[in-house]
Amino acid sequence: MSIVKAKDLTFEYIRRDEEGNVDGITTAIDNVSLDIKEGQFIAILGHNGSGKSTFAKHINAILHPTEGTVWVDGMDTSDDANVWNIRHEAGMVFQNPDNQIIGQVVEEDVGFGPENMGVPTEEIWQRVEESLKAVGMYEYRKKSPNRLSGGQKQRVSIAGVLAMHPKCIVFDEPTAMLDPNGRKEVIRAARALNDVEGITVILITHYMEEIIHADKVFVMDKGKIAMEGTPREVFSKVDELKALRLDVPQVTLLAYELKKRGVNLPDGILTKEELVKALGL
């Protein structure tokens, strides 16, 4: 079943000058159609300004399409009556960990979503406990968010979304402000949600290493979908990715260069282990 579906989606930012006259129109998303199935791990890649974050905000009904339609679990995001149901089914984790934590104590922040949804008190506690355990932050439940590291804060934010029992979570560059360790923590948590809880994960990023486990990758450029396929398919087209100013993981690049110089290797090698095996070392 499809959880997120976009048909001919176009979104325009209208720039206005000081008098409010239209100064120019930027098309952030240009006629995009895609279909994401329930339970998938999807990665959306793209350079700055490629429209990937704008697309993410459509899934949560924060932005509405200028043209075309987006459906989340069969609900049209342009219909105001659906807004709260959509936000409940499609959670969102943002980039800056400090700017999305509302509570002064970890557990209170995780409880914020269920509180808004009108979940009864006992059930809120149950959900908070489950969600914090799922991201491995249960022992920090009484701490102030200010004392956590970036990766831990992001995991609290994930727990906060998880406590709303969504079907789908959109991660909008969740690791852009983290150190390498924090990045790993967050990606591990996202993968666990997808594997264990079966939640659809849509990961928006520009770090190539984070997408090798995805079921499907969309590469966006100038508001259009430039490439799509499995990570292996996408990474086998090194030249195309370079033309889009995206880097491939070092291992993939090495394998690509070796192959160009006549070493017999399969296309789209993603991990060190794979390369070692393919080289027969």
């Binding site: 936000r87 700017n99 509302i102 914020f112 269920p114 008190t121 809120i124 908070v128 200010n146």
Partner: protein, 274 residues
Amino acid sequence: MLRDITLGQYYQSDSVIHRLDPRVKLLGTVAFVVSLFLSDYFLGYLVAILFLAICVELSTVPFKFIVKGMKTIVFLLIITVVCNLLFTTGTTVVSFWKVTITVEGIRMAFMMALRLSLLILGSSIMTLTTTPNNLTDGMESVMSPLKKIRVPVHEISMMMSIALRFIPILLEETDKIMKAQIARGADFETGGLIKRAKALIPLLVPLFISAFRRANDLALAMEARCYRGGEHRTKMKPLKYRKRDGIAYGILVIYIAAVIIVGKFGIPVGGFVW
């Protein structure tokens, strides 16, 4: 470290007073303040002092901690005492140059000083024993009847708790910007008042821009998590009255009655009724 600062003046402990419902403490403080204006004689204040002493003892907050709060009003206290001493007319005690001090003046000055000190001490007991978080919750609940006259009670308390969450973050950011500007040659420390105020501009502008950006992000994050104001909202930690809160209310009523009754009697000392 800036991120470790405690806001307000909460003193961590696990006393009976700490565990009381914040609503009891809020209403109790209001009742205490009112009680200070109910009696005209010293005996009534004696009851108030006694009551406060018991509360302080029960709260397990060290007395010197509580007195710290008095520092801020020393100046106000002195002005009050001097004004009352000098400008109250009545039976003269001493008179020199153009100044006359009267019996009534001494009495007034003493009473006002006592009243002010008790007021501050009484309210510090509340802030010392209640976390800011709990306090905002309590306020939301106590003020909820005001919703009927369209006071946005929930929004006010939400704003207060968000402000509390962001104060340490913004402080840290101020520190960062300050260091960045110093590294670029900004001078925050020398020069007169005007020069220093001007020097703050390169600090305040980026700080404001960043604060607005944060506010925008936070609003988005809140909406994404289904926040739509106070309606249809349940509470993770609802305020619940327990037995001890009922007892505390009972004690408050007894206290007010005691102040009213005792406050009717004065003791004649030094040719005047105290």
